[in-house]
Each structure stands twice: as structure tokens, then as C-alpha cells.
Amino acid sequence: MILEGKKAVWKDYQKEIAEDKYYYVRSCVRQNFFPGSETAFLKIMREELNKDVYEHPCHTSCTGIGYHSDIVPVETTMTVVARQFALMTEAGYENLMPSCITSFGLYTEILDTWHHFPEVEEKVRRQLKKATGREFKKPKNLAHSSDVIFKFRKEIGAKAKYKLINKETGEPLKVVDHIGCHYAKMFPSKGVGGAEYPYVLTGMIEEWGGQIIDYPERRHCCGFGFRQYLVQANRGFSVACSKEKFESMKPFKPDMIITNCPGCPMFLDRWQYVINEMEGKRYGQNGEGIPVFTYEEVAGLVLGYDPWELGLQMHQTDCEPVLNKIGTDYSPEDKYNLDISPSYSKKHNLINV
């Protein structure tokens, strides 16, 4: 592997990411499976980085999962997305920052379609007006929330309490990055680092002390495939995809997996449990699984947030091996203790600052 070659590719894919004043839209999957990640994200943005992040109470799902399950027609999806734009316009924001990769991909795709087919945009404007009376401006800047954390990775690194380094050996943790398919595969120029060697998570890991490892199935889909997971009869395909990835990364002995898509960490986490149940196979070291994290969780850990406030107890595959390696100060016995009241949730989640 020649790092210089990758650096040359990364240089070709610099994307513009807004500096401040973000309009945040949430992710259906993240909310249900990794709610702590979105909470931590807002805390980092607002408290650590002093950014203006606005969330509109009336925004909804973009319909992405329904759209990619093909039960929602493209025009419906475009109009729901147009409504999101309208809410943003009305709130006086122009930098759209979705939490979800499917949404990010969908917004990117729709803006591209409208660019090439202005008549489609006009039709959507008419339909939105008819259905809701709303009008909209298109976002000036569209960046996924992982792009924004990437942008401020150095600022986060400067405040870090922990590094992604094995405190016993002094060696950097070996990290596998997994990028959501819709981040850059459809429009490589819209992703930091492009589609083939995405830099968005690699940049964070490098900055926070870890070492990214490349492995043959790095670009492979986690296997969600929308209908391929959502319907039980199809899940054999879904799990097979993740298994392909685990088999491929195993020889590299990764300490952890970091992801930027809401769904992927859930699948990479749960499928390890299923494969172990079905075949008695584990892919981590010492007979353990490979801990899987969202990038918000990793940022939170680096900043010294409590693992149980980050929601790491909502993972099926234990995250403790990583906590122990980097030396997180945490209380193992409180993992499932729900009586301890959250230290920051009220302040940072419910109110738009």
C-alpha cells in the first residue's frame, strides 16, 4: 500500500462544507437505534464548537427507506424533500445537514435531477404549493453531519481527553472504516475523498490517534438493501453481505469499526451476534466480537463523554474492549442502569439554541 497515492486521490475530492448555521434533519434509523449519537452530536456542535444548529419540530422523514423499498413514488419523495427545504427556507437557514446517509444521498440525487431536468423541479414546486402552500429555496450547502465532524476533527482532537491508542502498548488502534453506500457511490464528487478511498472517517481516525486499515471488501455494502433486510424472508442476503466483510477484515485484526451511516453500525453490530448464534464464529480478538461505533460515538469517547450516555449499551456486540484499550473512565456496573439521570440531554436536545 502506497499512502502517497491515496493522498493524491484525497486531494482531488475536497468538498465545500459550511462553517456555521446548520439546519439539522434527523435520521429515522439513528433515532431508533442510536439516539445517543444524535444527542452527542448536538452537544459537540453546540457546546464544544459553539455552532448554530437549528432543528425544526415539524420536519419529517425524507421517506428514504420507503422510497428505496419502492413503496413511495419518486414524485412523492421529491415533494416531501421539497417540504424539508421549505421549512429550512422559512427558518432562515441555507446549510442543510442531514444526519442520515440515505437522506444525504437522496437530497444529492434530487438536486442533481432538478439540475438536469428543471421541468421536474417546477412540477415539484407546483405540487408542494398545492399540497401545503409552501415555497422553498434550494440549500446553498449540503453536507452530511459526518462531513461537518470531519471539518472540525482538529478542533475536537484539540479538546480530546483520550486518544485512539492502546494505552498499554502505546500502539494506535486498528480501525476499519465503513462508509454508507449512498454517501459517495452515486456522486463521488459529493463525498470527502470520493467514492473509492473515502477520507471522511479516515481523517477523523488519523486525527484522533488511530490507524485506518484497508481490506479487500472495504467498499462492500453492509447488506441492508432496504427490502432485503426489512422483510424477514430476505435477511439471509443481508447477513451474508456483512459476513463477507467480517471474513475479509478478520486477518487484519481490527480493534473496532467506525461508520458514518445510521443503518450500517446496527447491521454490523447485530449480524455479528447472529453469525455467532448460527455458526459459532466471532471476528474480534480473544473470542470477542469487533465493536462497532458511529462516528458521533467515537467523537464522544475521544472527548471523554460517558459511554452509557452515548448509548453504547444499546449495542449488541460489547464495546468494552475498546473502552478498556483507550482507558476510558467508566463504570461497568452502570451499563444497564437507567436510574442515573442524563447530564446533558435536557439542556441540549429539546431546545433550539
Partner: protein, 341 residues
Amino acid sequence: MGKHVVVIGGGVAGLEVAGQLSKVGIEVSLIEKDSNTGGHLNKWYKLFPDRRKSSEVMEYLNGITVNKGINLMTDTSIEMFNRKRDHFSIVTSGGKELIADAVIVATGFDLFKSARKEEYGYGIYDNVITSADLEEMFRKGEISLTNNTIPEKIGIIHCVGSRDEKVGNFYCSKLCCVTAVKQAIEIREFLPESKVFCFYMDMRMGGALYEELYREAQEQWGVSFIRGKVSEASETIDNQLLIKVEDTLAGRPLKMKLDLLVLMAGMEMSEGGKKIAGIGGLRTGENRFFAATDNHFGSNKSDIEGVFYAGTCTAPMNITETISHARAAAIEVIDYLKCSN
């Protein structure tokens, strides 16, 4: 006649056209940006279809430069280029002004920069090389991997940078298929224990003796041909390359581990040619090569009277075609100079 012609580019086409013009007593200034003439040919080991040594062709071409009436200027490029009524004023990088009655553009091609096909990992994965790198190995007489071991399984990917709108090249470079076949045979000659696989979309064996060479590769050298465009390569923990392709004629995806991957880089309009097009106001086509006035009987003519094209600056060509095209350019120039008398 006392005429002076400037030839831009000292590769195969430039040398040949200069030689032909000097033969009939026309004074030629041959301008070459590198310190040697011969262009890409310098890097090649043997040539298709008969696998003669490229040095033999080089010998013929270098012989031309000593012709009477050829003023060879190496390490020189063109900075300005204007038509002034009945002649051209050309300013070189050395600041010298040349006055010419006609100009021949023979700026040739550049090999496609294979790193642009990111998914094949050229410049990133250790043992991914281009057809040009392989020729270099042939010239050194040694095919080896970065860890100095000998490869056993070698894959050749056709159409790298050709027939691919992802890199903006819709056209076929037309010589890569036969180059792949030639190189596959040569690998087998060098490494009799090796296995060679060519991954192609179509085998475009449209030149004299090409198909015969293809047959020889199958029959005598046991080269395998698999129809499918390789989707990606990645590096395994033992430094092998895992490739993914559809074996389209079996209708099944196929994965294979290789020790060495060779990319058949296509041909593109040269950077030098683009520069000349810019300063000379010469028209280029959608494929970015120079656009001739007529595809059938004006392939040497530009839109500017007195400016002609020779060789691969207009389209991918093999050496035979390049030499023919250069000779045709000489005839056009001689004709033009006669008429302008």
C-alpha cells in the same frame, strides 16, 4: 524551392514527415520538447504484431535526423504561433523566432494516466502496473514484484481509460487489445511457469496479423481470455490483488487473486498538443484530439491553411499507420507549398 517547414514533435510521425520533406529539398526545423527524439517508442521493448525489437524502428527513425536540411532542436517547446499573411511566426521556448512557410503538428499522444481509474489502485496498491511499466520490466529483462519475488498469476485489464465516460473518453484506443496480447505472450516467454489472464470487453483485433497473434496467444501460450470489465481491485493481507469481474459469457460474477495486475492504458491527446491547440487556435474534437477537416480525404489538414497534422495527435494509430499518415502529410505539404508559390 527554398521553403522552410516547422515540424512540432519529434516522435515517429514528426521524424518521418521531416525525413520525407528533407528528401525533396525542403528545409525542416524539427522541434522536440524532450532531449531525445522517438517519443514513446524509446520506452517500448518489442512491437506488435511481429514482435520485432523497437530499437530496429528507432534505428531507422534516428537515421532521419542526420538528413541534410533537418535542423533538430531538442529540449525545445513552442511558446507562440501566429499566421502572418503567407507565413508563420513561431517563437520557441529559447526565445528564438522561426519563420515558416508551413507547420506540421505531430505532437503525438500521452498514455492515459491510470491513477485516474481509482478503483484499480494504480499508485496505491504495490503490484498494479501499466503496460508502459511492463515494457520497462521487459527492457530490464526482469519481471518482479515489489518484494522482488516472481509473479505467478498475472492479470491484464483492457480498456483502462478507453471506452469509458467516467474518465471522459468515449473512444476506443484500438491498440491496447493487441498490446495486451503481445505482452501476455511476452510474460509467458519470460515466465514459463506463469498464468496470464486477459480481461476484455471486446477483442478488437483489427490490424494486419493481430488476430493471428491472438490465436497464437491462446494456442501456444495458453493465455486465458475472460470477457468482462474488471470492477475493482483491492489488496489482500498477503499483498495479492483481489479482483472482481463478471465472467459475462458464463453469466456469473468471478473473483480471482492475482500477483500482478497490468493496466492497458489508453491513448489521449497529449498535453503538448493541447497547448498547441490553445496557442494556435486549432480545433479539437469531442475526443480532444485535433480535428481534421475531413475524415476521409482531409485527415492531415487543419482548418488553418498551411497547418497540417501527422500521426496520433489526430487519433490513436499504430506505428505503421503513423508512418503512413506522416508520409501523407508530407505530400499535402509539398502540394500546398507548390500551390502557394
